[in-house]
């Protein structure tokens, strides 16, 4: 077990190196000049430019810039943004909010998706099943920002049920609407996955055996159907946390959430490579860690899997 964990952690090293390299290369390739942006409509002075370039290693070749970034990133020091703030502070100020938002979305989609998916799977072909199928398809088909605007307009502005925007106060109530919007698409996928897994497992031999042994239907569903059906759902959720955090770029923008999506988007716009690369690095880390956790969870859910 521990050997497996260690091996998996070792495997993440090339992933992290490769991902930061690619993002660094992309930001570097961007022809826009961050220093021009700093000056607005005013002319840029050569000496001032040289001073700023030296401060941020922009005068170094690309590979050197990347290596210098890595050297500090190993000890979780992500350097300074062009506006002179420590990127660590920026991450510390935004990541908790986004994690909270993404986790809320994750819990919402997991609970609602599994619940609705199980019911739909048990009543395959009935009215509830067809309704859920239509709902999930519509959710997948409509762009997420359309949902965002419409829900903000109705729940936030017209009916005044929740605050339309979040701002600095990231309380549970304030984040409820953005988290719902963020989790919607994944909810649809979880629902569909659970539904087909439940429907398939209901016909499996071990379930048949359990019934034949005279187990009550509730116990059969809980112990034998659901537990097995959760495996594909957990796999999906494992990769979803990272996707949710990236998807937050849109949701956070609509609801003015002070999160990492907005931070990344602004940084990309202004060519702030230190911030962009740091945000992506942390997101990749989150992805790597959650997929490890998911693999370990398999062992709990599926008795056939054992890690040597």
């Amino acid at each position: 077990m521990w050997w497996y964990v260690a091996k998996r952690l070792l495997q993440t090293i090339p992933v992290l190196l490769g991902a930061t390299f690619i993002i660094y290369a992309l930001v570097f390739l961007r022809p826009g000049d961050p220093i021009v942006g700093l000056f607005g409509d005013k002319p840029v002075n050569a000496a001032t430019r040289a001073a700023i370039e030296a401060q941020y290693n922009l005068d170094q070749p690309f590979i050197v810039q990347w290596l210098l970034f890595l050297k500090d990133a190993i000890v979780f020091d992500f350097g300074q943004s062009y506006s002179g703030r420590s990127v660590n502070d920026l991450l510390a100020a935004t990541f908790p909010t986004t994690i909270k938002l993404a986790l809320m979305a994750l819990v919402l989609e997991l609970v609602l998706g599994v619940l609705a998916g199980t019911l739909a799977g048990l009543r395959k072909g009935k009215l509830f099943d067809s309704t859920m199928l239509v709902v999930s398809l519509v959710v997948i088909a409509v762009p997420i920002f359309v949902f965002g605007f419409v829900m903000q307009l109705f729940f936030g502005v017209k009916w005044d049920l929740v605050p339309p925007t979040v701002g600095a106060n990231d309380s549970f109530k304030n984040l409820l609407l953005p988290a719902t919007v963020l989790g919607l698409i994944s909810f649809a996928y979880v629902l569909r996955l659970t539904r087909s897994a439940v429907a398939e497992n209901l016909l499996a031999d071990h379930v048949r055996t359990a019934r034949a042994k005279g187990m009550s239907e509730g116990t059969v569903v809980r112990r034998h159907v659901l537990r097995n059906s959760l495996i594909p759902v957990i796999t999906y959720l494992g990769t979803d946390l990272g996707a949710l955090m990236a998807g937050a770029v849109v949701t956070e923008g609509i609801f003015n959430v002070n999160g990492v999506g907005g931070l990344a988007y602004d940084a990309i716009r202004t060519g702030e490579s230190p911030t962009v690369v740091s945000v992506v690095t942390v997101m990749v880390l989150v992805y790597v860690v959650t997929s490890l956790l998911v693999d370990l969870l398999y062992a709990v859910l599926d008795p056939r899997i054992r890690y040597a």
């Binding site: 090339p14 690619i22 605007f149 087909s196 398939e200 055996t209 770029v249 716009r269 962009v276």
Partner: protein, 323 residues
């Protein structure tokens, strides 16, 4: 009395109720049916397949000759028509710039569908080739492809697309229709291929150990022939299903990128551009139809592709779907 669940039925039936003969007759003369032919048989019986086919056929007509459904020029916009209501020849009224909403929705289908189709084709090609190589040859090529896939899979697609598109944007903001579409296709494909690769690899691993492959090997087929003639065709099913569903996802992603200001150039008529241009109207709760017409068109199109993907999955893998 409630329905008996499988396993609770009693399997004693009168012989008269089970016309065994009809079921068990095997036509030994008939040519063997391929996986695809059987799938097609099942597909034909699925109403969802026909529904999506009708939608897609309609879409094809709109793509080919949008002028059939409107006389208005989608690029002719007069501010004096700004947000005007519908009138003869302009059923859904005008957007803020005074362009005809219906006409723009019809003509806008081209860019959106093109992005979806081309991205899917490119992703599927890359994914099938790399996945087949990794799965079939194993060892060194497998670890290269798998590690590369891990790396690209770990980078969040949306963020990576934003960075990459801002490069394209920068190189040439006036990309025109094809340049604009290809930039998005290339960007999305660059970061979306690992999913198909993984699927293809797993599928190939499964197929390459099946008996018929061994049989082919035994009669002297070279590895290459084996891969191309036997393994790949029999591994394609799951990839095709995923591709059809992700086609819809790519169309919505294009709209999202336009919403972020990084999609197609604004001179290109597209659903993404129109939906994002209408966002201020929705914020202030007025003239909702300006957003809803292109948004509905987009949703229906995506829906058609997803339904088709679902139906094809059910047909190819009867165990998962019907049973």
């Amino acid at each position: 009395m409630r329905d008996l669940m499988p396993g609770q039925q009693r399997w004693v039936a009168a012989l008269a109720e089970t016309p065994l003969k009809a079921v068990d007759v095997l036509d030994t003369e008939a040519p063997p049916e391929s996986q695809w032919k059987e799938a097609w048989k099942r597909l034909r019986r699925n109403p969802l397949f026909w529904m999506s086919s009708v939608l897609l056929a309609l879409l094809a007509v709109v793509l080919a000759v949008p002028g059939l459904f409107t006389d208005a020029d989608p690029t002719f916009c007069q501010l004096s028509d700004s947000l005007a209501n519908g009138r003869a020849g302009h059923p859904f009224g005008f957007d803020k710039q005074g362009c005809d909403v219906w006409s723009r929705t019809l003509y806008g289908a081209r860019a959106s569908v093109l992005v979806g189709v081309l991205t899917t084709l490119l992703v599927a090609t890359i994914g099938i080739v790399t996945g087949a190589i990794a799965g079939f040859y194993g060892t060194f090529p497998d670890s290269i492809v798998s590690r590369l896939g891990d790396i690209f899979f770990a980078i969040p697609l949306l963020l990576a697309a934003i960075v990459t598109l801002s490069i394209f944007n920068n190189l040439n903001p006036d990309r025109g229709f094809w340049g604009g579409c290809l930039a998005i296709v290339f960007t999305l494909a660059l970061f979306a291929w690992p999913q198909i690769t993984r699927q293809m690899r797993a599928s190939v691993l499964q197929v390459k150990n099946l008996e018929f492959v061994d049989a082919a090997k035994a009669i002297g087929a070279s590895p290459r022939v084996n891969l191309l003639r036997h393994v790949v065709p029999n591994s394609l099913a799951p990839v095709i299903v995923t591709s059809m569903i992700s086609l819809g996802v790519f169309i919505t992603t294009e709209a999202t990128l336009s919403f972020l200001g990084l999609g197609l150039p604004s001179s290109v008529v597209s659903w993404g551009n129109d939906i994002s241009a209408a966002q201020n109207l929705v914020r202030s709760g007025q003239d909702l139809s300006v957003m809803f017409v292109p948004a509905s068109a987009l949703a229906i199109t995506v829906l058609a592709f997803i339904l088709l993907g679902d139906a094809v999955r059910d047909a190819l893998d009867p165990k998962a779907g019907k049973s």
